[in-house]
């Protein structure tokens, strides 16, 4: 009964979160005094398997079937279920990617289980794993346990474990050919595409002033635009601002927008949900202005002011102008 990490790739490269999940599986396996194995779905993916064979793992499972060319939730859930029956792991770990969100609940349900999604940490207590996840968009934490024996399922939040902790070693590769027929796959995925070319390249900005729902109305946007102007910064936003059409989509920072790492990122009235944080936490200096002292944005901020942005931002503009 070991730990199984299910890894993901884009076809040409591993998903960046896969190494974090592998490191987590190795760590939890050590703490539970068991072994870790890894699995991935990739018709003909022997090159990927060879790379994993040089890691400290008991086994590398390559799930191979021509109907798994191109992701479908039906195909993946059916194939991985057969793999899990065969490998009989105690705990199966995934990265909390968009793809995993799409098939993991289905896979777990087909085995009568509930996955613990978006895990940020764990501890081992009396030989049992306790998982920590977030509620209320990161404002509250919760400790969760599985009620019954495995296989149990969990997905790990981006950045929760360190990719550079993966231990090297050697592992045997096993190719698994699931039983799967075309009739079982009900959805037909078409090509990937991007929306029209981006006119602003936020990744090139040295300073970014980013605005969130704390701004309340689009009529208030000139206030943060002015702050951006005095700083010579680009204006960016959290998702709800772009959803509402107050700023174009191309100015959205986060998991479904751009990933930026400027010299300074100023978050004005942004709570700091994980999907926003993953897009900006690599910034060198992070400044947060928020009226809620418990807002998760303060978890990543170097400097902060707890206060009403409508009072603070005008003073900030004034102070910057005076300092020049």
């Amino acid at each position: 009964m070991s730990i199984l990490a299910v890894l993901e790739h884009s076809g040409s490269a591993w998903h960046r979160m896969s190494w974090e999940t592998l490191a987590a599986a190795q760590q939890i396996a050590r703490e539970l005094d068991t072994t870790a194995s890894a699995a991935f779905v990739r018709p003909g993916g022997h090159g990927f398997a060879d790379e994993l064979a040089r890691k400290q793992l008991e086994k590398v499972y390559l799930v191979d079937h021509e109907l798994l060319n191109g992701y479908t939730p039906d195909g993946y859930a059916i194939a991985l279920r057969q793999l899990i029956d065969r490998a009989a792991p105690r705990l199966v770990l995934f990265s909390h990617t968009y793809q995993v969100r799409d098939f993991l609940p289905k896979l777990a349900t087909s085995l009568g289980k509930v996955a613990v999604t978006d895990v940020v940490a764990h501890r081992v207590d009396n030989g049992q794993v306790v998982l920590v996840r977030q509620l209320f968009q990161g404002k509250v934490n919760v400790d969760v346990r599985f009620a019954a024996d495995g296989p149990n399922f969990a997905s790990l939040q981006a950045g929760a474990y360190r990719a550079d902790r993966v231990a090297d070693g050697s592992a045997a590769v096993e190719v698994v050919r699931p039983q799967l027929s075309a009739g079982e796959i009900r959805t037909k995925p078409l090509e990937l595409f991007r929306e029209s070319q981006r006119a602003v390249d936020l990744t090139a900005a040295e300073i970014i002033v980013s605005v969130g729902r704390g701004i309340k109305e689009s009529d208030n946007l000139p206030l943060v635009q002015k702050l951006a102007d005095v700083l010579g910064a680009e204006l960016a936003a959290s998702r709800p601002i772009c959803d509402a059409g107050w700023l174009p989509m191309e100015r959205q920072v986060g998991s479904s927008g751009q990933t930026v790492a400027p010299k300074m990122y100023m978050a004005i009235g942004i709570s700091g949900a994980i999907q926003h944080l993953v897009g900006m936490k690599g910034s060198r200096i992070i400044v947060a202005i928020n009226k809620d002292p418990n807002a998760p944005i303060f978890e990543v901020a170097d400097y902060g002011i707890v206060g009403d942005l409508f009072q603070v931002v005008p003073e900030l503009i004034d102070a910057i102008q005076k300092s020049k």
Binding site: T109, G138, V144, F146, T187, E195, S255
Partner: protein
Amino acid sequence: MKIIVAIKQVPARDSQLRIAPSAKWIAEDDLTYEINEPDAYALEEGLQLKEKHGGEVVALCAGPPRAAQTIREALAKGADRAIHIEEEDMGAFDPLGAAKLLAAALRSESPDLILTGLQSDDLGYGQTGVILAELLGLPHATIIMKVEKRDGGILVKRELEDGWFQHVEMPLPALLTIQSGASKLRYATLMGIKKAKTKEIRRLRAAELGAAAGSPSITIERIYLPQRTKQTQLFEGSPKEAAAKLVEKLKFEARVI
């Protein structure tokens, strides 16, 4: 098209959250509630599909009596009728338990399309829709931004990471989980609010549905405010003083301006 939209009532976004003495949930006494944001977009998508193709939109909600307020708002925006599974303690249900409740309430409905939000703002499992699809034996797609009806099925636009999208073709009946921002939300009109009063709300109880909480597969041990690990320098005083201190630090310590 007969469209079911699953809507959940959650604490209003700006709520100051306190942990309940039991440490199993937050203190609820002084909270106000609203519709889960992605569910509002799911409702909008459902209403637009109905306007284009005809049919019916049914709002489906499991929650305590106070959730009736959120249901009435959905009816005022244009849902034709609603099903309210009255259950005081939704906290006792894990997402599989919640999805079983919703599935049981849909037994006599046979919808063409079920829409849910992609994630709830409070529990944030991001699972209930997909689990419901599996329980009902339906194909599904998640994080959907657009739905188009085609001959024999639908074409949906899925959001992927880093600004990528994908179209997916699928047959009906199906279940979709809807992402925020898919379209502009409508407001309820005065006429809509008036009409809502005459619309049917079918009230069911979990026990009647033969789907009690049972024994959840995952159990909540303890809820708490996260420990901050990062040392943030916070500047206090009047807005003017705080702003001046911040600018000084940015200039002379961080040297970014």
